[in-house]
Amino acid sequence: MERRVVVTGIGVVSALGKNAHQFWEALVKGESGIRRIEQVDVTGLKFQNGAEAHNWEPQEHFESKQLDFVDRFAQFAVVAAREAVADAGIQWTQSLREQTAIVTGSCVGGKATEDDSFQELYLRKKTRVSPLTIMRTMENAGASHISIETGITGPAFTLSTACSSANHAVGQAFRMVRSGDVEMALAGGSEAPFNFGHLKAWEAMRVVAPDTCRPFCADRLGMVLGEGGAMMVLENREAALARGAHIYGEIVGFGMSSDAHHLTQASTEGPARAITAALRDASLQAEQIGYINAHGTATQVNDPAEVAAIRLALGGHAERVAVSSTKSMHGHALGAAGAIEAIATILALRNSILPPTANFTKPDPRCDIDVIPNTARRAEVEYALSNSFAFGGLNAVLAFRSPR
């Protein structure tokens, strides 16, 4: 028999603060973490704003020797995992460590390290680079450091599907716990995309807003890059209840699809099929969904396509469901986005408050659904979805249930 999968621990590092508590406080207030980028000299960039993890001091979390080996993106994964594990109150045994999985998502991994290292070759004409380059750059570094630090010896891997990475990661972890493959999983994602070369690459795509992220607005100008890490402890519900763990909420379904369409042009059918697959996996009817944490990047292409996909998948219920894009506050943290938004969704269900779409100005007639503009809303919701749709047309949708 399939097991029910609950979330018993959460950890978030983001532009909205150093932990899950600060993250939620900001979401409820509709506060945006988007500011002028500080890590990179933005002279010569067409955009100057991003959602950085403000005042991030790696020395607060790692010994200086250890820091040489850990890129910023992996630092976020480890610190978020520490918070989630402590929050869940796990008492490790050797057997539990063997039956716990780690699944992380990351789109760009340690690109900042790579950028620095390759400057030695290309710019300074050196003949060698640091031997730590590979260890810091590899996308699985977060998962590996979490395993080394916690002593978890079960299955561990990293998924990289651009902006859907963390949703794919959480979805796989969910299924491994549900099937009984493992008793527990640490799942989420992390990203640290702020380095000059990478920002220039985004600039070239012409999808980044010069000011802020305004999802579903008529005057939206694009996405705003974010960074951070978010990790959750997923656990077999029976085991969680037996040990008296605090239950934040339940993951009840996961759906995936691919567009087979275009690298960047959004499809309606692909995302809609992922939503439908998540509903089917959870044995839910569209009418049972009360909230959707949208992919909501605020690019010209994404938002109307996502609204159309929600309409296609949910039918008439799309006119009644509440939808918001919290990327308006924590930015688009690429491979971490799904995990950050999963935690936003779980806390929304648990706390009966739906976070808003911040920075909202005026509605776009092509996105005319309820997007919770600017002000959080009190609402008892039992079931919610969280959407992630990646460049390259890879879609992943998670379905959650409130703990009540």
Partner: protein, 89 residues
């Protein structure tokens, strides 16, 4: 093996391992300093940069102490001064 050379090597090792400089001497064994294989390649990289030389892969395995590192560097610098300079740019 000059005092200056030893000083440069010990300070390089201490910096990589985040150890107080006085902890690292010519008699230090890498194992005693907690230097594992990945630390080792990192230290060799720092030494290559410090002395503008290229330590060949086949010479690396034998280097397990500060003294062996100094000796290897001495040999490289005296044998291949021109080569070392060419690598250095």
């Amino acid at each position: 093996m000059t005092e200056e050379m030893i000083g440069r090597v010990t300070s390089c090792v201490a910096k990589c391992q985040k150890l107080p400089p006085e902890k690292v001497t010519i008699d230090s064994k890498f194992e005693d300093l907690g230097i594992d294989s990945l630390d080792g390649v990192n230290i060799l990289y720092a030494l290559e940069t410090e002395f503008n030389v290229s330590i060949p892969d086949e010479g690396v395995l034998g280097i397990k102490s500060v003294k062996e590192a100094v000796e290897a560097l001495d040999k490289l610098i005296s044998a291949g001064g021109a080569n070392a300079t060419a690598q250095a740019k």
